[in-house]
Amino acid sequence: MEDILNAIVLMTNFLIVPGLAYGSQLALGALGITLVYGILRFSNFAHGETMAFGTMMTILVTWFLQAHGIGLGPLPTALIALPVGAAATVVLVLLTDKWVYCFYRRQKSPPVIFLIASIGVMFLMNGIVRFIIGPKDQVFTDGERFIITAGEFKQLSGLREGLAIKTTQGITVITAIVVVAALFWFLNKTRTGKSMRAYSDNEDLALLSGINPDRVVMVAWIFTAVLATIAGTLYGLDKSFKPFVYLQILLPLFASAIVGGLGNPLGAIAGGFVIAFSEVSFTFAYRKFLAYLVPDGWAPDGLVQLLSTDYKFAVSFVILVLVLLVKPTGIFSGKSL
């Protein structure tokens, strides 16, 4: 019996807790991609860099606060800095819309042109981020490191396996729940939210019923920027901030959005968790887990790892390919082809 408990704790510690945290980060990021897709109808390649920019602004404010001795005690200071970072990102994103995308909207350009423009924006933001903060690794988390450490858990439960939950992981999941709840409340209950959904469903009909497209687009961008900043900061807190990582995370983000169904917010969340859990469980070494469950002496010799962690991006890609082959509209049937 104890062996089974140990196995469950081991699984929770290395698979479920990290998966939940990573899934929340992906879900928040994919929500931004899906919002832009639903309202503006293009795949925003600059989204990863928007996340990087938001995180960078948050880090700068965090440093400023830390220098003045302002903090949240056990919680990371970055949480106070987050609104400021988000505000700065909103300004940047609205400016890019005004200077870049607005023109193509007036021209009614095909989505591909928007996509290329977003690549230009990506370059630009990437340059800005590296210019201001440099390409190096930045650690900006402070406060209490763990909610519960492995040692404490072992003492509490008397089990051989420990369960450690990092503060950042706890914050990530709680923040994600709050943000997603707020977003859905907004989309389903408020007038602006309803007009956004109407615009996403049928642009012509929405315009005919007097919905102001500029306002819908603006609100969509504001949400995207805020979501990107939160997702980026949580990711940065959980791991560390490296500008190039935000370029690589683009693939899992797109995979999450497409798996769930592009343009469908609920799908983006589901997709985020699908991708995160597959990534974690495919790269998890099951040896110790199996050793607890099988009789003595049967334990496998190898790591029993399906894929080395170097190929975690391959997991999101394979899932993406499977979805494209089997159900291109995604699990929750987003926009049709």
Binding site: F103, G134, L324
Partner: protein
């Protein structure tokens, strides 16, 4: 292959800028730039075939170029006999199993048509079983190969053939990968191709970084044989020394320029062949059909053109050209460094070249390749100079001045982004617009 006066002028300006670098900085640098300009131009032609002819968005140029580079290693390095005897059979067996698995999975998938969910699960099951069986043979073989003199070899080596052959093989490898990606993602919404190519390129580079038995991974393969003479041999030979004195240059300097010129002429031949073929294709009935599909897919479809098949064809062709250029790049570097494949440098920079040069026009792509590569190299000195001028009023140890000077290197990302956005907005047809017919 006709050029108007204006376009000839543009190329003349380009040549003048390179000459200026030769005079102001050094001729060796000028020819180094020319070599990479030539390779960039070929890559840009490849992207232009996809984007300009057919409107296909390939965001994975990096991956296809890296496959070309891999061909350089596989063709030119000497085979490592010890590694082959240690794990060669294991690798071959696991590759055969992989092929059988893919065939079985496809068979299951096609045979079980109409059985709904079961078909998918059965296919996945077959793939999983095959994967595990292949790994039984694969892992010990890899371990054995990588332990053969890991500091020097630790990989299977190549075929020991002339590296020029790799240029063709690189194209074939890239075309093969492109066929798989295209088969999956073409025929769906246009964004999906972009995302799928982004994914495959990341994975190709990840494989090249981690599979040490294949091409030593991040340990790099250096000292690839050259298709041109080595500087040191030139400097030692009598006739070359005599030639150098008659020209009034030191043998060291002249040999470096001579080698770069030899590369440049090889690359120029390839560029001319690709350019000629591209122009012929663009002006043929096939090119007309491609443009018809690009401009109105529905109409072309109604006229009986198989849009998806034609897209696949043009996508594979474009990637093959990129693969050739990738192999040429490895040849020029004389080494294969998987870590150097960065999406900004290999994918998006090529895109800027095509957009700036003029999408749909082959001469435009060539000009774009030259121009953008030139500025990519020269942006750093220019940026540094600019920062120096801006901050000239500040004290030497002003932290802002130091930060600005250090960050000047990142200026080029911003410059490229800005150029792309400005061109897309104000002259979307590029420097040499597509000819109206």
């Amino acid at each position: 292959m006709t050029l108007s006066l204006r376009n000839t002028g543009l190329f003349a300006v380009m040549a003048l800028m390179i000459v200026l670098v030769g005079v102001m900085q050094s001729w060796s640098l000028a020819f180094a730039i020319v070599n990479l300009c030539l390779i960039s131009a070929i890559m840009a032609l490849g992207v232009n075939i996809q984007w300009g002819y057919a409107g296909l968005l390939n965001v994975g140029v990096m991956g296809f170029a890296a496959l070309g580079g891999l061909a350089g290693v596989l063709i030119s390095t000497e085979p490592v006999a010890e590694a082959w005897s240690a794990g060669g059979t294991g690798i071959i067996i696991s590759l055969i199993i992989a092929v059988i698995t893919i065939a079985m999975a496809t068979l299951v998938y096609t045979r079980l048509k109409g059985t709904g969910k079961m078909r998918i699960w059965a296919t996945i099951l077959v793939a999983f079983i095959g994967y595990f069986i292949a790994r039984i043979f694969f892992e010990p073989a890899v371990e054995a190969i990588e332990s053969v003199e890991p500091a020097r070899t630790g990989f299977l080596g190549g075929f020991g053939l002339p590296i020029i052959l790799a240029w063709i093989v690189g194209g074939v490898l890239a075309a093969g990968a492109a066929w798989v990606v295209g088969k999956i993602s073409l025929g769906l919404r246009s964004d999906y191709l972009a995302i799928a190519t982004l994914g495959i390129s990341e994975i190709i580079v990840a494989i090249l970084k981690n599979e040490d038995w294949l091409a030593r991974g991040v340990k790099n393969v250096s000292g690839l044989p050259r298709p041109v003479p080595y500087e040191i041999d030139l400097q030692r030979s009598e006739w070359f020394q005599g030639w150098a004195t008659s020209l009034g240059a030191t043998p060291v300097e002249l040999s470096s320029i001579f080698v770069k010129l030899s590369y440049a002429s090889l690359f120029a031949v390839v560029l001319l062949i690709v350019l000629w073929l591209s122009e012929r294709a663009l002006n043929s009935p096939w090119g007309r059909m491609m443009r018809a599909i690009r401009d109105n897919e529905t109409a072309a479809n109604a006229m009986g053109k198989d849009v998806t098949a034609r897209h696949l064809q043009v996508f594979v062709l474009g990637c093959a050209v990129i693969g050739v250029a990738g192999a040429m790049l490895t040849t020029l570097d004389g080494q294969f460094t998987p870590a150097s494949y960065q999406p900004l440098r290999f994918t998006f920079l090529i895109w800027v070249m095509v957009i700036v040069g003029g999408s749909g026009n082959n001469w435009g792509a060539v000009l774009g390749g030259f121009l953008i590569w030139f500025f990519w190299i020269e942006a750093e000195p220019i940026g540094l100079w600019l920062m120096d001028v801006i901050t000239a009023g500040m004290a030497e140890d002003n932290p802002l001045r130091i930060h600005l000077l250090e960050s000047a290197a990142h200026m080029r990302l911003m410059t490229m982004g800005l150029i792309l956005l400005l061109v897309l907005r104000f002259t979307p047809q590029g420097l040499i617009p597509e000819r109206r017919r």
